[in-house]
Point group: C2
Chain length 327, copies 2
């Protein structure tokens, strides 16, 4: 029987999940659930049903196998994931690393209380990058970790620029420094500063009459976001921004280098080169939704993360097939 | 309480496991078990105890938590792993891909019958590369796989050369072709032939009076091993071979490229650059031995592979720690 996926929220990530479900034959879409008027939502596939988010309350949408919650980490997910875990098996992409423990605790309590299964903080970071950090530490306990992000758009940094007075719009690319990547790959476990690892490239549209020098100064000196980095600021028109910077590429690198003896060093490298951050994240969420459905079927209740999921749970085939074809 | 590791077989891989146990504080070595006279075995660490393999019979070595079986895949492991699974939790690095299903069945039957836990075919390929092939397929179901090996010594190909009449010794390096790697990284899902993906580089020591042309012909035309590849054959002295080709580097690349929509392609790349194949493989086996100990403690019986092991089982820390520090 197909796994029935519900999608809550129809922004870029929800659209990515809709695409991913279409690529997986063992799944079908129960619907997009939206807080908007369903009749106003135009989906990517003609057959996709759009339903009101109200239908989710009190567990009324009982045809859902796993609900993929596609809200934002700042304000949506801390409320939504525990709320819907009362009634549904759920998965989210909560990505505020510092608040994962409290989010886990809240979702775990809700899911356990209801006998449901939940998986939080799924995507590529947190998610696949986290798994690779863990694997690297397990296989090379005597070593050093490196994570590089980009080249890609950082939503948080783009938003920070947009909050500056006189800025109409902006996009910020995080770019790994090639020489730092090469140093990490050398296996010599170099110490790399924040400034050495990444540069930041800003594309800014000014409001009419804004002071270009003041805006530049405010960007490059912004604490935490920019002051520890080498920053390039480019001013362009809204038309240019929309034409040249509308795509959402991203990616990055996780490296672990370490020794097994005085004479033997090793380097493990994992990298992603993504044309579309939300489409890839949606695809990862969808594979893990399969694992959530399996765990639920086995009666495993409460909250989990990618660390708790054996790789085999991500694939539709059984163990015999996987051992014969993929091992 | 520390996990007590037994090592059966003290070749390069057994020595790698001995080193790896020394890097993991939650483990201790119960001993090296050998078919040789234990008094003749010189270990890497002074305190390592060397015991007779006979002590393993009938489960007499009951201080062992997990027995790491470091035999060869051709003749040792098909007998040893089911045999010792009668009495011990075991792990091996059985790497003959085509025979994994029957090895799994034999080990599974033995371990289940005895209420023991076994993990087979652990290392980097099969092992970490297998996990990455599976992850790639799960996250990008509409795509293509690429595995490249090297630069590194292939034991099987080196042995094949040594069997040729007139050859005293040989080492064979498998080398990925850079342009093929770049094609795989392009995200365009190219079809690559065997010849396009790898070259083979041979370093051969001739016996006195051997015919250099005949040996060369026999190598480059050897079916399966060399005939489908571009092969370089170099003749050197035993002294040069011992001096320049004694190390056991290896590594390789697993790539998955695929689409989430018509407009978005993605590339996932995993790579290993290893100074010492047996030391790294020993380190991977040791991390998975921890998982075997955990599964055994949970009462999970029978045979497993890396596909069945959730990442968290590889680390000594608990879920709270891993979520706070690695997710």
């Amino acid at each position: 029987m197909a796994i029935r996926i519900g999608i809550l929220g129809y922004g870029n990530l929800g659209r990515g999940v809709e695409l991913a479900v279409s690529k997986n034959d063992d799944m079908e879409l129960a619907g997009i659930f939206t807080r908007r008027d369903p009749s106003t939502v135009k989906t990517q596939f003609e057959g996709t049903s759009v339903r009101s988010a109200k239908e989710l309350e009190d567990g009324k949408a009982d045809d859902i196998g796993v609900l993929v919650i596609c809200g934002g980490s700042a304000t949506d997910l801390p409320k939504q994931t525990p709320h819907y875990a009362q009634w549904y098996n759920v998965i989210d992409s909560f990505d505020t690393h510092a608040h994962i423990p409290e989010h886990f605790a809240a979702v775990n309590a809700a899911a356990r209380g209801a006998g449901k299964t939940a998986l939080i903080s799924c995507g590529w970071d947190p998610g696949l990058f986290s798994i690779n950090r863990l694997y690297g530490n397990a296989f090379l306990p005597d070593g050093a970790d490196y994570t590089f992000w980009g080249r890609g758009i950082s939503q948080g940094h783009s938003d920070a620029i947009r909050r500056i007075e006189g800025v109409a719009d902006a996009k910020q690319y995080t770019i790994p420094v090639e020489s730092a990547l090469e140093a990490a790959r050398s296996g010599k476990n170099p110490e790399l500063t924040t400034r050495e690892k990444h540069t930041r490239e800003c594309w800014v549209v000014l409001e009419e009459g804004a002071d270009i020098d003041r805006v530049t100064e405010e960007i490059v000196n912004m604490p935490n976001y920019f002051d520890e980095y080498d920053v390039t600021v480019n001013f362009i028109t809204q038309k240019e921004l929309d034409r040249d910077h509308a795509a959402m590429p991203h990616g990055g690198f996780v490296l672990r280098s370490g020794k097994t003896s005085d004479n033997a060093s090793h380097v493990i490298e994992y990298s992603l080169k993504l044309d579309s951050n939300p489409e890839f994240t949606g695809s990862v969420l969808t594979a893990y939704a399969r694992a959530v459905a399996r765990l639920a079927a086995e009666g495993k209740q409460g909250a989990f993360t990618v660390f708790d999921i054996a790789p085999a749970y991500l694939m539709p085939q059984d163990g015999d097939y996987l051992r014969a074809h993929m091992l």
